[in-house]
């Protein structure tokens, strides 16, 4: 554990003057700001609670799916290949640092990045609500749901990271895979077939998109005739927080082990 923390500290040191990482964190503010500036329905709220709900739902449904997940995969490929690209792996191996521990440190960094991404997005939303002169009622609850979704998205990105590590070194292929993975994940996350499956060993539970949707959606405001109908249909399939995070823990354990094993095979 101590060794992992040491490696994690070093991973942070390596980020110095690396614009890609900070740009990726900064884009978490992009969708909330664009919505607030350009969408009329995001400028006219009846109450602070409504403003918080609408803004946070864009964070959950757009930023997390369309920005965070691809950002995690692209940054993962950058972090995992940087040692080979810079020829530093041999220096690390002769200390010695184990490759699986190094891979885990990098994945932990991405875990923290995912939390930071959602936290920044949430805080930007808070700023927008406050700037509108509204009371941010119920914000902190959704803020922590956002953090939870960040963790779900991180775990959901791990299969794609594994694929990228397996294919080793091709950034173009990594980006293409990431694009398709993001789109499929987004589509499946809103598809009735996947979000109306009971908790169990099925695609609706195992795939990150539907699982995240079935967890976070219950925390959003579902009043209104249209929403009531939708809720009637999907609410029996919502997953509890322990259920959602049990799946995340198990899937992360499997995919982190596989990533570590594949990274171990990489030559230095």
């Amino acid at each position: 554990m101590k060794a992992l923390l040491k490696l994690l500290r070093c991973e942070f040191s390596k980020l110095k003057r690396k614009p890609l990482f900070f740009a990726a964190a900064a884009i978490s503010a992009l969708i909330p700001l664009c919505c607030a500036l350009f969408l009329p329905e995001m400028q006219d709220f009846a109450s602070g609670a409504e403003a918080v709900d609408r803004l946070m739902s864009t964070l959950f449904q757009l930023s997390a799916y369309l920005l965070l997940m691809p950002a995690v995969v692209v940054l993962a490929s950058n972090l995992l290949f940087e040692e080979q690209d810079n020829d530093t792996l041999k220096n690390l191996m002769t200390i010695p640092v184990s490759k699986p521990a190094l891979a885990l440190a990098k994945m932990t960094l991405l875990f923290l990045f995912s939390i930071a991404f959602m936290a920044i997005g949430g805080l930007v939303n808070l700023g927008i609500v406050l700037a509108s002169g509204l009371e941010p009622a119920g914000f902190w609850r959704l803020f922590f749901v956002g953090i939870g979704q960040g963790i779900l998205m991180w775990a959901g990105a791990l299969p794609c990271v594994l694929l990228v590590v397996l294919l080793n070194r091709s950034y173009i292929i990594s980006v293409i895979i990431t694009f398709f993975y993001t789109v499929i994940n987004y589509i499946l996350g809103t598809n009735d077939f996947f979000i109306t499956q009971p908790f169990g060993f099925n695609p609706g539970t195992l795939l990150p998109g539907p699982l995240a949707f079935r967890w976070f959606f219950q925390y959003l405001d579902t009043s209104g005739a249209q929403m009531t109908k939708l809720m009637e249909r999907i609410s029996p399939y919502f997953v509890t927080t322990p259920q959602a995070f049990l799946v995340v823990v198990l899937e992360s354990a499997v995919f982190l082990t596989l990533i570590a094993l594949v990274y171990k095979r990489q030559s230095c």
Binding site: K14, K16, E82, N86, D87, L92, T94, I95
Partner: protein, 307 residues
């Protein structure tokens, strides 16, 4: 316990059908500089990578400090400093920042380790220049600083003078010599530059096509270098007969009608020349020849010379 800091037995590395290192058994004694000499592609780097556990051998064993490397990496590797192939560092960081990362991982908390390592290689501490802006020589110096930063007992340096200017080469050479003499460190250094090995090493291993063709101390190797007299005379056979009959010289060959090579170094050349002249022979040339290490290298590798 073994007397050797590094000992390999039958070390072999195969990449598919190609054998990069074959049945290599080297012996590096404590407190000595061992020069691994060979042409580019002879298998020096592969050997060093296997010594550090960076490449798994196809067969054979590596023992460091009397213990097998396999299974003892955590105990053995921290006692070694290494520089393998080109210097590898993070381009977005300065030299000091780069060293700090590796110092952290080695558990070296005090900045004095970084400071003194940089001082030794003449690089500034806390300089703002990024590694990506370094010249090749500066990169090589930083790699040497990384290798010595944790004060290792054994240094494994693969072509450490690559990219250095002549003054830098002399500095690194002096520094390596001093490390060995003053602190008793054991150093394994590889090079394709014969003169460097000749100037620096105590023991030499010559590797060719992955095979260790010679392993000896530099003195022994130099003693093996042939010295001989060569005479160009009007009749080499008659001259040879005279030396044999009158001076008792046996070790000689008649190379051609006019050329005679004498390997017996007890020969008094002035006496030999007056003997030839007295017998009516014409002497047009008399020379003492000495083979260089390069000649020896050519002989044992059966090929062309080396830089």
């Amino acid at each position: 316990m073994s007397d050797y800091v590094i000992e390999t037995r039958g070390l072999t590395k195969q990449y598919g059908a190609q054998t990069s290192v074959s049945d290599l058994s080297i012996h590096v004694r404590q407190g000595r500089i061992y020069g691994l000499l060979g042409r580019n592609g002879a298998g020096k780097t592969t050997t060093m990578r296997m010594l550090l556990g960076l490449t798994d051998p196809s067969s054979g064993t590596v023992s460091l400090f009397g213990k097998p490397l396999r299974g003892n990496e955590k105990k053995i590797l921290p006692r070694i400093g290494s520089l393998i192939e080109s210097p590898g560092f993070y381009p977005n960081l300065t030299g000091t920042e780069n060293l700090r990362i590796f110092a952290d991982l080695r558990g070296l908390k005090s900045p004095k380790y970084i400071k003194s390592a940089l001082e030794v290689v003449n690089l500034p501490y806390r300089d703002k220049k990024l590694f990506s802006q370094y010249s090749l020589g500066m990169k090589q110096r930083l790699a040497i600083a990384l290798a010595i930063m944790h004060n290792p007992e054994l240094l494994i340096l693969d072509e450490p003078i690559n990219g250095l200017d002549p003054i830098g080469i002399a500095e690194v050479r002096d520094f390596i010599r001093e490390l060995c003499d003053a602190t008793g460190k054991t150093i394994l250094i590889s090079s394709h530059i014969l003169s460097e090995i000749a100037l620096l090493a105590d023991d030499v291993g010559i590797i060719d096509h992955g095979v260790l063709v010679e392993e000896e101390s530099l003195e022994e190797l130099e003693a093996k270098n042939g010295k001989y007299f060569r005479f160009t005379v009007s009749n080499a056979a008659a001259a040879g007969r005279l030396l044999y009959e009158r001076l008792g010289i046996h070790d000689m060959t008649v190379d051609s009608a006019n050329e005679l090579t004498v390997r017996d170094l007890h020969l008094d050349t002035a006496q030999a020349i007056s003997l030839f002249v007295g017998a009516g022979l014409t002497v047009s040339d008399a020379h003492l020849y000495e083979d260089t290490l390069e000649d020896y290298f050519k002989k044992v590798t059966g090929g062309e010379g080396i830089a």
